[in-house]
Amino acid sequence: MVMRKLQLELPLNQTQKVRFKRAMERLQFLSSTTNNSVIVADSIHEDAFLLKGHGTSEVDGELMATVCGVVTHVDKLVYIRTLRARYKPEVKDIVVGRVIEVSKSCWRLELNSTKDGILKLSSMDNDVQRRKTYVDELNMRNIIVEDDVVCAEVGCIHRDGGLELRATSYKYGKLEKGQHLMVDPYLVKRSNIHFHYIESLGIDLIIGRNGFIWVGEHVQAQDHMILDDEMIKHTSLETRQSILRIGNAIRVLSNLGFTMTLEVIMETFNLSNAENIDVYDMLGSEFHVLVAENELERRIRRA
């Protein structure tokens, strides 16, 4: 329970506890009244003619849940949307991963999923279609090495679970000058835009569907195969502070279990600025309570 995690990390004093509790209760009240959540071995009430999807299993004619989650209907399909599970890859998802191995003509990425992602050298295509030679293979380490953070797109998923990634455009590839954060995958919803460029701050924000988020200084999209010989430009203090602030905003939201969208993140960021809270204090109990109350108001506004 996230609440308990908070109690472990942050001691809330009495007033804070009361405020927090109230905010949570009202949030609960706001959320949809039909309670579709099930746990393992609960039976699902089904109508006939339903396709049984993920998280369900039929035992003796009765449909039972095999995971804890929420029952979702899409047309004739009934499945269970899990909450705290590992990332389930879907084709064309944008993901951020960390390199764990460089092997012959491919990189292996850790994606917080059941299987590691494989980024093949040949999938790092550019506009200039060029066949990769052995020279490129030897140069692999000069481009991307272990522990680098890489952004890519899910290419295809094999039957045995093997996951192939593609980094076919300039916006994908190695990510530099920033911070890499890990949140639960269920907090990141599928949307049209995952690459956000916050102009006012000069910051790139990439929200990967696998729960890995990248906050960094804005870098012009360029060919990642060309080795950059220029001197690495120094990032200004302001930009770095903004990066940290956004990073902490994401951490607070993840602790509280709220969905990550650009809107919510920016609101939290602005809130911290408005309240003149120091970057480190953002992880303190007061700010958590403030964010919870703010979220409540935001949802009321939206509803």
């Binding site: 996230v2 309670n35 299987k115």
Partner: protein, 241 residues
């Protein structure tokens, strides 16, 4: 020594069919995919589950189209009264094997081929019934990690002292030399997965003790369901639209 006084009260004041107090929490280890703390009276166990993730050691894969389940049971050296000498002894090895096989029976390993699920169990306080507490904690942690399971595996122990079957023995009652029956069941499917007994019991007495332990398991199952339901609801409404 008298373990059940003439009025029917045990050493800690419970009746013969009363269980110790249960406290269960989910999501306590932030780094793990799923985690839980399970307390039965003074026995406290923490479980952490990692997975399903890429298989680390290819040689451990015996069945190609199933996930590999690994389990490690260890007692912290401060868990018992006197400091324990070794962390991993033969008892820990046997319990790791037994708990692993119990959880394997309820995880749907066919759905996650070529992957590995690690279950780590650490006993923080030992006061009898640690293996039952471990199985219950592991179930909670696996459900928290979103790993598909056939049913929730729950476990409870019972014994026989002073001619009375007793539910949920603590350490003093366990080391009295009477029988100790540990039962693990899948409540919804009504099947027995784990059954261990030591010390001698005549057949009829065994049946009584076994039935008592099964009842205890059902009560624990109720409690675990409550905790999981509450947790799922909370996560869902926070996540919101």
């Amino acid at each position: 020594m008298e373990y059940v006084n003439p009025e029917g009260l045990r050493l800690d004041g419970r009746r013969f069919n009363e269980m110790r107090q249960i406290v269960a929490e989910v999501g306590v280890v932030s780094k793990a995919d799923g985690s839980a703390v399970f307390e039965m009276g003074n026995t406290k166990v923490i479980a952490a589950v990692y997975g399903p993730r890429e298989i680390q050691n290819k040689s451990q894969q015996k069945k190609n189209d199933h996930a590999v389940v690994l389990c490690e049971y260890s007692m912290a050296q401060f868990s018992t009264g006197d400091r324990r000498r070794q962390k991993f002894d033969r008892r820990s090895t046997e319990l790791s094997l037994v708990i692993r096989q119990t959880m394997e029976a309820c995880i749907l390993t066919e759905l996650m081929p070529h992957s590995q699920i690690d279950i780590f169990l650490q006993v923080l306080q030992a006061d009898g019934g640690t293996r039952s507490a471990c199985i219950n904690a592991a179930t909670l942690a696996l459900a928290d990690a979103g790993i598909p399971m056939r049913d929730l595996a729950v476990s409870c122990s019972a014994g026989y002292l002073n001619s009375t079957p007793l539910l949920d023995l603590n350490y003093v009652e366990d080391s009295a030399g009477g029988a100790d029956v540990t039962v693990g069941i899948l409540p919804k499917l009504d099947k027995v997965t784990l059954l261990q007994m030591d010390a001698k019991l005549p057949m009829e007495t065994f049946e009584t003790v076994f039935a008592l332990a099964s009842e205890g398991c059902k009560a624990i199952a109720e409690r675990i369901r409550e905790v999981l339901q509450e947790n799922t609801k909370q996560l869902e409404y926070r996540r919101a639209a």
